[in-house]
């Protein structure tokens, strides 16, 4: 090491350069920190977001980095738990002294982490936080990328209402995002004149839904709307078949859009509706290129979590470019003004950093494929309606 340094020094002198006047890269790379759910309940989704970040950083660096500096990503695993994320963001900001942070996975974790980033006045683009309340607490430095949780089940309710369905049951994991998605579904259903015949929350990590589904079956709803993550969406579906619960439409929120959902459930996933923030087939700028590059890099298809992670990082980078600085207040001003079309769709926020431009789509599993069925202007096909009873498949 010593010898190398000396050689470099004498070389510099020999060339007549003053060592102190080396250009900007003497500052080293810009370090962007994040905690992500790499293990635990949200691992599958958090990992995709992580890969989205990684690909974005790679692409940003390929285009010369930010403000003339290379960008590095510093990531820790928060095990899908909010308290761990709080500790990790404290560590990133106070010990690692990163230059900027990006958001973690999920609403509950982002909600917890936001308390830390606000305290230290760090801008946090939170690309996978979909709960409205996070952005409506007077926080100044957090920015939303995806559509709010309340709208996840809108497509399901709308399609049901158009087909004359009258009753709905809503179940949800008892955490921030799922509660908001369920509340949104209930409100939308009531607006469309539907009767909510049953509603119940279940704890995170629940694996046995027999009693809950027995009650759903007794309530006999036309639609079952489930505000889920991945594990519970799988378990619910399996037990619906076991207990012969047969709504005319059954939709889930998160997890249902992953290829693994179909791999796990096989043909039992057919007819299930899911909501997604993004599909690679949607006509957004750079979408196809992102899809191809991602598949090449990670040997599997991206989910919307990957795309949102990628887009969130691009949005932050764009704001830094426009601000020509990493200063939190200057970047914040740019993020508030910014209107941007990414591979993920549109970005525009209100004065609270709350997303107002991005749109959700609803798909249905048909013949091993996700087919976008809602809204009409983006639909690739018609929903297969009604869902046949389990015994007749």
């Amino acid at each position: 090491m010593m010898v190398k340094a000396l050689t470099a020094c004498s070389l510099a002198l020999a060339l007549g350069l003053a060592v102190v006047s080396l250009p900007a890269d003497a500052q080293g790379p810009i370090r962007i920190g994040a905690s992500l759910s790499l293990t635990g309940t949200y691992a599958k989704l958090g990992k995709n977001q992580h890969e989205g970040y990684q690909l974005c950083i790679k692409d940003v660096n390929a285009k010369g980095g930010l403000l003339g500096r290379k960008v590095d990503l510093v990531v820790y695993d928060d095990q899908s738990t909010p308290p761990t994320a709080v500790r990790l963001y404290e560590k990133l900001i106070t010990e690692d002294k990163v230059d900027a942070v990006m958001g973690p996975y999920s609403s509950p974790v982002s909600e917890a982490a936001a308390n830390v980033t606000e305290k230290y006045k760090k801008v946090m683009v939170a690309p996978l936080a979909a709960t409205t309340s996070i952005f409506k607490k007077g926080r100044k430095y957090i920015f939303m990328v995806i559509s709010p949780a309340e709208g996840y089940l809108e497509g399901l309710v709308d399609m049901g209402a158009k087909r004359g369905l009258k009753t709905i049951a809503v179940v949800n994991e008892d955490t921030l995002f799922s509660k908001a998605a369920a509340a949104g579904a209930v409100e939308l259903a009531k607006k469309r004149g539907m009767q909510v015949v049953y509603q119940e929350a279940y704890p995170k990590g629940n694996t046995d839904f027999s009693a809950l589904l027995t009650k759903v079956r007794a309530a006999n709803p036309d639609i079952l709307a489930a505000a889920t993550y991945f594990d519970d969406a799988v378990a619910l579906t399996r037990q619906m078949k076991e207990l012969n619960v047969n709504p005319k439409m059954y939709g889930v929120t998160v997890g249902g859009d992953l290829p693994e959902f179909y791999d796990t459930l096989k043909q039992n996933a057919e007819f299930i509706y899911g909501a997604t923030q993004w599909e690679h087939t949607l006509p957004y700028p750079g979408n196809q290129e992102f899809f191809d590059a991602y598949k090449k890099e990670f040997a599997h298809e991206p989910s919307y979590h990957s795309a949102a992670g990628y887009a969130g990082c691009l949005i932050y980078a764009e704001a830094v470019k426009r601000a020509k600085s990493l200063d939190a207040d200057q970047v914040r001003d740019q993020l508030l003004k910014l209107e941007m079309k990414t591979l993920f769709g549109e970005y525009k926020v209100d004065a609270d950093g709350f997303q107002t431009a991005h749109k959700m789509v609803t798909f249905q599993w048909q013949g091993e494929k996700k087919v976008t069925v809602w809204p009409d202007e983006l639909a690739q096909g018609k929903p297969r309606f009604p869902t046949p009873p389990w015994t007749q498949r």
Binding site: Y198, A201, Y202, P203, D208, S210, T214, F230, D231
Partner: protein, 292 residues
């Protein structure tokens, strides 16, 4: 927003309770054995169950074996793992203060979960072998859960026959009643400890193998089973083997009935409130501790 309850719904939920209760009983019996014989609370019991589930998953997905046929294989593999753990680590804390054994098994538990994450990744795996249900008189009998129930009942019954009627089984019970007297009677206590840990790990693995067909598998699936098994053996009377059976069934039924009459969210609360009540009224558990 709640629904009117019918006798049919209660029947449905009672079935679910008994089906899951049998699994609880089998897994908890393992924990009860270790506690009874060695006075060690094995925090790694759940992670051992997780390993059992992975054995079944790999035999099913790589070798195409019927997952129910893998139950004995999974149990045998974890029996050996259990022997190794006891031989290398756990024997060191058998006579140490209880905190040492708690710490050690807690450490083993963390190590097993993290090794599993490294080796198998934390992706969810599933054994999609049999789904759906039989409809019996208007009640749905889940196929995978019912078959798992039958297996759990048979394995638990065999374990009891072994404990009651074989020489080794009697030696295990004797050691659990009094280590010193057993030693004086010529029982090789260290060997009994080894065997007990192996057996207990096998029972956990059996539970894991059966669960693999029911729920998704991931490295952290075991944690909740350590707690549930602990709850079961304290309910039934720590170290009392029939108590584990009673406790298991009770927990299964209480969870399901609480989900039905109250909400799914409250079912865990109800289970732990029940635990507190039992401890207040009968501190030694429902069947009393350690009389075998």
């Amino acid at each position: 927003m709640s629904v009117a309850l019918t006798p049919e719904m209660v029947g449905q939920v009672l079935i679910s309770g008994v089906l899951s209760g049998a699994l609880y009983a089998m897994v908890a019996l393992g924990l009860a054995l270790i506690f009874g014989v060695m006075r060690v609370i094995n925090i790694a019991h759940g992670p051992l169950l997780m390993l059992g589930a992975y054995v079944t998953y790999f035999l099913y997905s790589r070798a195409g074996l019927n997952p129910f046929l893998t139950v004995p294989i999974s149990m045998a593999v974890l029996f050996v793992v259990g022997l190794l753990l006891q031989r290398t680590l756990v024997f060191r804390v058998v006579n140490a203060p209880e905190l040492s054994s708690l710490l050690l098994t807690f450490g083993i538990s963390i190590a097993l979960v993290n090794l599993a994450q490294l080796a198998f990744t934390s992706d969810l795996r599933a054994v999609e072998y049999i789904t759906g249900s039989w409809i019996v008189g208007g009640l749905a009998l889940s196929k995978p859960r019912f078959i798992a129930f039958v297996f759990a009942t048979v394995v638990t019954a065999l374990a009891f026959v072994f404990l009651k009627s074989t020489r080794l089984g009697k030696a295990i019970r004797a050691t659990s009643q009094s280590r010193e007297v057993a030693m004086v009677c010529g029982i090789d206590v260290a060997r009994i400890h080894l065997l007990t840990f192996g057996l207990a790990s096998a029972l956990a693995a059996g539970g894991g193998a059966l669960l693999a067909v029911i729920v998704a598998i991931q490295p952290e699936m075991g944690g909740v089973w350590t707690f549930k098994s602990f709850l079961v053996i304290v309910l039934g009377g720590a170290g009392n083997y029939p108590g584990a059976l009673l406790g298991g069934l009770l927990l299964g039924l209480v969870e399901q009935l609480a989900s039905l009459f109250l909400t799914t969210q409250l079912s865990e609360v109800v289970a732990y409130v029940l635990l507190v009540l039992v401890l207040l009224v009968r501190p030694t558990g429902l069947l009393g501790g350690r009389q075998t």
